[in-house]
Symmetry: C2
Subunit: 365 residues, 2 copies
């Protein structure tokens, strides 16, 4: 079993290695041409910034899933090059969302570089008295990216009926993701958390499970030229548990992970008072009074190092951590089982399993 796991992960890595270059290469060429054809100096500069931003290191999980799914479902020949363009446009849409996300979260860094609104503020702040010029430009630069994506979709040479199905999934993707983002904003910096508030589960479903796993796989499926309700259903049964497992894992690592693995301080979720699936589970286990005291501490504005330790210990002592780890394992098992029902080719089923096995491991301290 262990060996199989490794083999699947290696297969996914091999697939990744090949297509990452094609995806990034397309984005690089696309923006190189935009820079060349722009009449205005500021457009050339900003297209340069967009290009650098879109090409920063990242897992490219969504475009890779689009491509793996497409290859797994397709029968006979189709133009893979055109599908790479659409997959790349999904990564560009991810940048569109990240730019907005950083403005909303007031984040200064993204993927090892400055977030776009910070960058724009530095580049154009000196000429105006508008202190928010960086965000103002970045909001609209995100729109430039979305217009670029529309251009790529309109110019991509695939069967037009297939393109239309793709556009339909595309619209569902960004609608659901936006609702997830809004629910997330509504559940940040809360003044009070009611017991039984199950927003973390909904946010995980919309912002992670659908957005990162289910819709990319569906996109690959419709791009293969088919669209049966039964297969959409099978895709959800595989993708949603995997996506929620990913979210549970992320929430656990946000509190108990190794900083050098996760890339973010392990007290940041607690300091922010983030209401995650893990916290929701801890409160579910506690009685009314304990739960209220715990949430009050979590929402306290300036938490001391002792507060952080106390919160972390409570999550562990109540059994919420174990329960979350168990939940994660169950979800992974459910997804692994349902993967067998996808009508993809054997090779690509194994590649998809590679993604699953990567999410299955939780590297705790």
């Amino acid at each position: 079993m262990k060996e199989d796991t490794k083999r699947y992960r290696d297969m996914f890595s091999g697939f990744s290695g090949k297509y990452l270059k094609e995806i990034d290469g397309f984005v690089r060429d696309f923006y190189r041409k935009k820079i060349e054809s722009s009449e205005e100096e500021f457009m050339k500069e900003m297209y340069g910034s967009i290009s650098e931003y879109c090409l920063r290191d990242g897992k490219r999980i969504r475009p890779l899933l689009v491509l793996a799914s497409f290859h797994g479902y397709r029968r006979g020949f189709s133009g893979t090059g055109e599908i790479v363009k659409l997959a790349a446009s999904i990564e560009m849409m991810h940048s569109f969302l990240l730019i907005q996300d950083d403005i909303i979260d007031r984040s200064e860094m993204r993927r090892g570089g400055k977030s776009l609104h910070i960058l724009m503020g530095e580049m154009y702040g000196a000429r105006t008295d508008n202190r928010l010029i960086g965000s103002d430009i970045a909001i609209v630069l995100a729109d430039v990216i979305f217009a670029n994506v529309m251009e790529i979709i309109s110019q991509c040479r695939i069967n037009l009926k297939v393109k239309n199905s793709f556009l339909e999934i595309f619209s569902r993707t960004y609608e659901k993701t936006a609702w997830g983002q809004i629910l997330d904003s509504m559940n940040s910096m809360l003044r009070k958390i009611e017991k039984g508030n199950d927003s973390p589960a909904k946010i995980g479903l919309m912002k992670t499970a659908y957005y990162t796993i289910a819709y990319p796989v569906m996109m690959g499926y419709v791009l293969s030229g088919r669209s049966s309700a039964r297969e959409f259903d099978a895709i959800e049964k595989f993708a949603l548990p995997l996506g929620v497992a990913f979210q549970v894992r992320d929430d656990i690592l946000g509190v108990f992970g190794v900083e050098s693995d996760t890339g973010k301080p392990t007290d940041s979720d607690i300091l922010e008072g983030k209401y995650t699936l893990l916290i929701q589970e801890a409160v579910r286990i506690m009685d009314e009074k304990e739960g209220a005291a715990f949430l009050k501490l979590l929402l306290k504005q300036k938490k001391s190092a002792r507060d952080v330790v106390k919160i972390r210990n409570t999550i562990e002592k109540t059994g919420a951590l174990d329960s979350a780890i168990r939940k994660h394992a169950e979800l992974i098992d459910e997804s692994r089982e349902n993967l067998q029902n996808l009508s993809v080719s054997k090779k690509y089923r194994e590649i998809l399993q590679g993604v699953l096995e990567a999410v299955a491991t939780i590297p705790l301290l």
Copy 2:
């Protein structure tokens, strides 16, 4: 001539009256269904707000131009109902941009109601310590609208080749408009204006002429099933002078208009220190020293009533106002002449002329 002018304007009013109802009716139904099918209470509430926002009083000039152009170009039968959906989606995209615009301009009102970020702040501000929750939600609600537009386009039943051409113009529309918006941000609250800075002309071209006139007419044209480079060229020759004339008119009314007509205080452009086509013209006429003093006063942070009067008088005395009025008339004449070269039917040429004649009149105090 005067009588003809009135006839054209009446024809456009008649056309408007009919299609405004269809456009708004579609938007209303679309969001009614969204409200009904939303699972979550917050989605129902927010879809209600989006619907109210999109349906506020407005001229609907862009969707009306899409429809007038479509009718003028089409030969034989096509499904007008489907075209109304696409036209309505262009008005929804306008709301997408207005929401962002109000966040960028820190505007609290829009079309006789509260701007969306203010509204969201009032509805959801009490539950969180995030003072910017209103903007955070509004940015993402704009994305919901854009996803809704993608849904409408994907579900619209027209020839798929035609739809693809529409999507291509759509992508160009929002790319150019975004660049215009960015250039506008870069030229707001300036610390210094170099003589010869011709950004106002570029902004007018991108944000008004292309966005409001040229692209909507092109959309109607491609929706009629054709796409000849010669006709695109003819459309630009008609639409761009008209659009720039509209911008010149707007700039003049911003300083010399009647508040009850324009709906905004006539000193707001001056107080903001807005660098418009009118200001650009005034500086062009003045000598180096006069120009520098004039711009310094315009960019002064807190201007007195006397400063405002002085700026207004200078624009008039230098002859910049007369020159702008002349420029406006020339542009209108150019557009009127080029309108004759569009290969649209007589009836719709007259309807398009109705739009032109409305822009031709500058109601000064």
